[in-house]
Symmetry: C2
Subunit: 198 residues, 2 copies
């Protein structure tokens, strides 16, 4: 029996995934969590073989959860909507053993759990290639500024929030726009978000 913990913030999806896995004879869902923090606590309590987690969750993201579980016995599989190279990169850096997309066929999840439990790795093929060829060129400041700009905040507002001068903020944005080959701040933010860099 492979003992699995599932972390996923959308209750209905959590329940559905659990139902899916409970149909497998050799897999047992021993715990469910609605966010990363609860998942971490439950992992300590139940000592699962495999942790299946979403990325975008309240309190603690799946990537943070993977980092916190790093080095422990439980093997982590990320299951997410987002085909973002930056996410995969960060996941692998956090010692994750599997990275699947919710676009993939349902049966792949059980297969991935078995593979990972047996010591293997499973990476969504759409991402395996792209992951290493595009690297985040942004500095931390550029990321901060871009995040806020992408939410519609003006240069002045961003400057206030980050305790910078407005000119500096415009410099960072100009830098980021150049690095990403965008035409303006909004496009730059979109590109960075799509890649998983924000």
């Amino acid at each position: 029996m492979i003992r699995v913990l599932i972390a996923e913030d959308q209750s209905m999806i959590l329940g559905a995934l659990a139902a899916l896995l409970d149909m497998e004879a050799d897999i047992e869902v021993i715990a469910r969590a609605g966010d990363g923090k609860k998942a971490l606590a439950l992992a300590g309590e139940h000592d699962p073989d495999v942790v299946v987690t979403d990325i975008e969750m309240p309190a603690m993201t799946g990537l943070e959860l993977a980092g916190a579980l790093r080095g422990q016995r439980a093997k982590v599989i990320i299951v997410t909507t987002f085909a973002r190279p930056g996410y995969l990169r960060r996941a692998l850096d956090a010692g994750v053993r599997g990275y699947l997309l919710k676009d993939a066929p349902a049966k792949q999840l059980a297969d991935a759990i078995r593979t990972v439990h047996a010591g293997g790795k499973v990476i969504a093929p759409e991402l395996a290639a792209e992951a290493w060829e595009s690297d985040d060129p942004l500095s931390e400041r550029e990321r901060q500024v871009l995040r806020l700009a992408g939410d519609g905040m003006s240069s002045g507002g961003i400057a206030d929030q980050l305790h910078l001068s407005e000119g500096t903020v415009r410099n960072y944005l100009s830098e980021a726009i150049g690095k990403l080959g965008a035409a303006n701040r909004v496009e730059a933010a979109r590109i960075a978000r799509r890649k998983g860099w924000l």
Copy 2:
């Protein structure tokens, strides 16, 4: 036996929801579709009692699907991530019988299917109140322009795409910004998207 068709573009979620419903003794998943168009075709073929559909899907959205099924025997339940009043409004206008959030507990889905099949309605409580109090104030042109602006396109680019003059585009944006109480086009686009108006 309640005969159900499920439409959902994320394969894994589709499979998981089907597994969840197959556990119910009185519910039978007779068909699955990965987009709205296939769902419409399959609905014609299999004549389901209830159609459970996501909103954001390729080829045809769940809202369009609901519109196309309007007046037919099958009853439609929307299951979506998005708590956007505008979506609920459009869903109700399309004759939908249920609107659930993926945040809701998994067991509510089966309950909703039974309720709807019995002639009832099920609306996510988080949304029931807000739905009617905030109405989309935007004109069709304003929506178009705002969509493109929100994607980072410049006034000139939007003008080219929509065959308008740049000044006119700026006028529409200014209008939209004013109506939504935003500070600029990006914030306006965010507000409109959050409400489900785009």
